[in-house]
């Protein structure tokens, strides 16, 4: 399965805005903590050196978060098209 190793954190946050309406997120020391649908994903990396503008984060973390929060796969694929194959299992 072809999946990018890294994706821009800014794109992931935009996907959350579109696909997880009403979610909350905050920065901890090492991660972005995302809560939605009664569930919490505390392990989304902040980016290199703890900075959100040091963009890229591991795509496996994004896949894990989409699964854990039960974000609709079709919406995630639409807003992160480079990862569509991973989200949709095609």
């Amino acid at each position: 399965m072809k999946v990018p190793r890294q994706v821009p954190l800014a794109d992931v946050l935009a996907m959350l805005d579109a696909c997880a309406p009403g979610h909350s997120r905050r920065a901890s020391v090492h991660h972005v903590v995302v809560t939605w649908n009664g569930r919490t994903y505390p392990g989304l990396p902040l980016g290199k050196h703890g900075r959100r503008d040091q963009n890229d984060i591991g795509s496996s973390q994004v896949r894990s978060m989409v699964r854990h929060l039960e974000i609709p796969a079709e919406c995630a694929a639409k807003h992160l098209p480079s990862m569509a194959q991973a989200f949709l299992g095609k």
């Binding site: 090492h30 991660h31 919490t40 505390p42 978060m65």
Partner: protein, 161 residues
């Protein structure tokens, strides 16, 4: 694409605001050989963490590092040892349900002999996930710290028979 259902052991000392804790987590995770030279680890219990790398060793280290850092985040935020213990226990208990479904499918594949278990020779019965998912958080004083708190990380394939 090979997928391995694993149990893992991870722990160590954690410093919080005015407390020292010994944390031990025995949980479940899923190893996926996603692509050529790309391996992913997905947490099942706890479900809120993952890792990746070019090899299984690299991905395993990344997964355990993120797990360790999430616990450190809890220690930074907790106002007391009791609060920290609640955060860690809730984190481990929150199951990644889609990953759990894949984990159970992978257990069936291991039992059917469809998965190469070389490198993960020890196994645990997969029917004991509730017993195998363990989180122990104990407050420690400097006088109580002893070498038996040192713990090597461990991963085992889930299946039996």
């Amino acid at each position: 694409m090979n997928v391995y259902p694993l149990f893992f052991n991870h722990g160590g000392l954690v410093a919080g605001r005015g407390f020292l804790a010994h944390v031990r987590i025995q949980g479940r995770c899923l190893l996926e050989e996603t692509d050529e030279a790309f391996v992913s680890f997905f947490g099942v219990n706890p479900g809120g963490v993952a890792g990746q790398g070019s090899t299984q060793d690299e991905a395993r280290r990344d997964f355990l590092e993120h797990l360790r850092l999430v616990v450190f985040d809890f220690a930074s935020e907790a106002l007391s040892f009791e609060h920290f213990k609640e955060l860690v226990e809730a984190f481990v208990a929150e199951t990644n349900r889609p990953s759990e479904a894949q984990w159970l499918e992978a257990v069936a594949a291991v039992r059917a002999g469809e998965v190469d278990r070389s490198g993960y020779s020890r196994t645990l019965p997969a029917e004991q996930p509730s017993a195998a998912i363990v989180v122990r958080v104990r407050e420690s004083s400097p006088a109580a710290i002893a070498p038996d708190m040192n713990q090597q990380d461990d991963m085992r394939v889930a299946a039996c028979g």
